[in-house]
């Protein structure tokens, strides 16, 4: 039982970590809570549904196309809503509320198009999982783990090794100095939204292979992503990964003794404890404290 819960925690954690690093990539450059990140995740799942079920494309191609579409959606949100707000030098809270507006709009648009009922992508028969250290793991769960770890490694290499990644770090550390040395901040923001949204889309697609999808799924997923990035240390990518796995494990071990409905409660209780006692998170550094 304990092994199964640990495994479930790790799988949930890898999805949370994917959402959290996407959120963090965006947060690092724009420094506000992009709540609409969650609907990009939902949209990713629905793009995959449309491509696989309605257009009968194969899995790999649909996966790739859905990620691209999610990235485009993220960039479109930035261009249409956040870019004009940046021009007005709006405050963080105005960005936050505007992103809530985007969430409500897109979530209900999806509901209008696909209906409020749950949909499923799973086409084949359900196979029995593999037994592993007293726990059961299915093929799809292995896929989720593998893909999310590969994506995390790719992102890490991108941020650390490429020139664009270096520019992104520069903008996140000091946007004015970065501008002085000739980095165009708008281009970096665009890149961050594209990458962050692609990661959210990927998480949404992966989860859609595993469970049913519904228009409201992105909301609690996003909250878990935000909580993960705060407990890991806001703005830190390793922190987001750590926070994601920590949250996944805490939630799943928490329901060992109490019913599964309390997962959200556990997650938010952890968040509030962190906000009060250690707002910079596990890996956050001291100087970042003032940004949150």
């Amino acid at each position: 039982m304990l092994n199964q819960l640990l495994l479930n925690g790790i799988i949930a954690g890898s999805i949370y970590a994917l959402i959290a690093i996407g959120f963090t990539v965006i947060y690092r450059t724009v420094k506000f809570f992009h709540f609409a990140h969650g609907v990009v995740y939902t949209a990713g799942a629905y793009f995959a549904y449309t491509l696989i079920i309605s257009l009968h494309l194969n899995f790999a191609l649909s996966f790739f196309l859905a990620i691209v579409l999610a990235a485009i959606l993220g960039v479109a949100i930035d261009r249409l809503v956040y870019y004009p707000l940046r021009q007005q030098k709006a405050s963080n809270l105005i960005f936050l509320l505007a992103s809530f507006g985007v969430v409500i709009f897109i979530q209900n648009l999806i509901q209008l198009i696909y209906g409020a009922q749950i949909l499923t992508i799973r086409t084949g028969p359900i196979k029995e999982g593999h037994h592993f250290l007293g726990a059961v793991i299915t093929d799809i769960q292995i896929l989720i783990l593998a893909v999310s770890i590969i994506l995390m490694i790719f992102l890490w290499l991108f941020i650390q090794k490429t020139k664009l990644g270096k520019a992104m770090r520069a903008v996140s550390d000091d946007p004015i100095a970065a501008n002085v040395v000739g980095i165009n901040p708008e281009r970096i923001i665009l890149t961050s939204f594209a990458i962050g949204s692609a990661l959210a889309g990927a998480a949404g697609i992966l989860i859609s292979f595993e469970t049913n999808i519904e228009p409201t799924m992105g909301f609690s997923a996003l909250l878990k992503g935000i909580i993960a990035s705060i407990i890991g240390g806001i703005g830190s990518i390793p922190g987001a990964v750590l926070g994601g796995f920590f949250l996944g494990l805490a939630e799943n071990l928490g329901i060992w003794k109490i019913s599964a409905g309390w997962k959200d409660c556990i997650a938010f209780a952890i968040l509030i404890i962190f906000l009060l006692l250690r707002p910079r998170g596990i890996l956050g550094n001291k100087t970042e404290k003032k940004t949150i």
Binding site: I104, W262, C265, F268
Partner: protein, 289 residues
């Protein structure tokens, strides 16, 4: 006619919610995103008291409001120590926790099945079964709320609230206990939200957790911002317009499977447009800093 009165009653309940949130958000500048949690607590307290021990809804309403006010202490205590985005996130989280408790504590709240058959108000044994008498009752509460909130914001206490909104450090430097004032604002706001929740429960006679989601909190906040932050008449106008406007969709002959998401889409779009074009609302004096 009955339908029109129903809309007015719902608008009245939303006016109370919007005014009490405006005190927190518009006058004190605290971005609270969990207001539905307080009305949830008020509604469940007075309904459970009426259903389980047969308490009169009048006393239930008062106890519900007091329990909500007490929860304002519990929720406000951690929340007022945080600022800006963090405060928004924490109140949001507490809103989710309250919703989650209402949904999962099945032995007490019956969870997603909700509480049916909540008794309505009665005066000297005569039930307020006529819908217009209920409208009168809600109107009285709306007037009381407007009066009290107006007195609060025009008092020296209200001036301190506005000084916290404009510059918290400056008002603390002048010797005002800002934490205490912010906590008091949460308590007052929660008290009125509790009244609104209880009025709603005894009017509809059925409640379930889905009426008190975080999206509901965002809707109330939208009413505050739309009407105008820090404006009493703005809150009244904002609540009435945003309750009535989506009802017009019904007259276009839309089935509810389309009208419900359409209503939310209008709210979402309105929130984005307001933030882009007029973040202080139609008659507001303050925008988020």
């Amino acid at each position: 006619m009955e339908y029109l009165l129903h809309i007015l009653i719902i608008a009245g309940i939303y006016i109370i919610l919007t005014l009490s949130l405006n005190l927190i958000v518009g006058y004190t500048g605290l971005p609270a995103l969990g207001h539905a949690a307080f009305s949830c607590i008020g509604a469940y307290t007075s309904s459970l008291l009426a259903l389980n021990i047969g308490l009169s809804p009048w006393i239930g309403l008062l106890i519900g409001a007091c329990v909500a006010a007490f929860s304002g202490v519990v929720i406000g205590y951690p929340a007022v120590r945080l600022k800006g985005d963090c405060l928004a996130l924490a109140t949001f989280g507490l809103g989710v926790i309250v919703y989650s408790i209402a949904k999962n504590w099945v032995s007490l709240t019956r969870g997603p099945m909700g509480l049916p058959g909540i008794p309505g108000f009665s005066i000297l044994g005569f039930g307020l079964s006529e819908i217009w008498s209920y409208l009168l009752l809600v109107s009285i509460f709306v007037v009381i709320t407007i009066f009290v909130i107006k007195r609060i914001v025009n008092s020296p206490f209200g001036r301190i609230l506005r000084s916290i909104r404009e510059d918290e450090i400056a008002s603390a430097a002048l010797g005002k206990d800002t934490i205490k004032h912010k906590l008091l604002v949460f308590i007052i706001g929660a008290f009125f939200a509790g009244i609104a929740g209880s009025l709603y429960a005894h009017y509809i006679t059925f409640i379930d957790p889905s009426s008190f989601t975080v999206m509901e909190s965002i809707t109330i906040l939208l009413m505050v911002i739309f009407g105008g932050m820090g404006s009493i008449s703005g809150s009244v106008v904002g609540a009435v317009i945003l309750v009535v406007l989506p009802e017009l969709l019904r007259f276009l002959g839309m089935p509810s499977s389309i009208a419900a998401p359409m209503r939310q889409m209008i709210y979402g779009l309105l929130l984005v447009v307001l933030m882009l074009k007029r973040p202080q609302g139609i008659m507001g004096a303050y925008r988020f800093k």
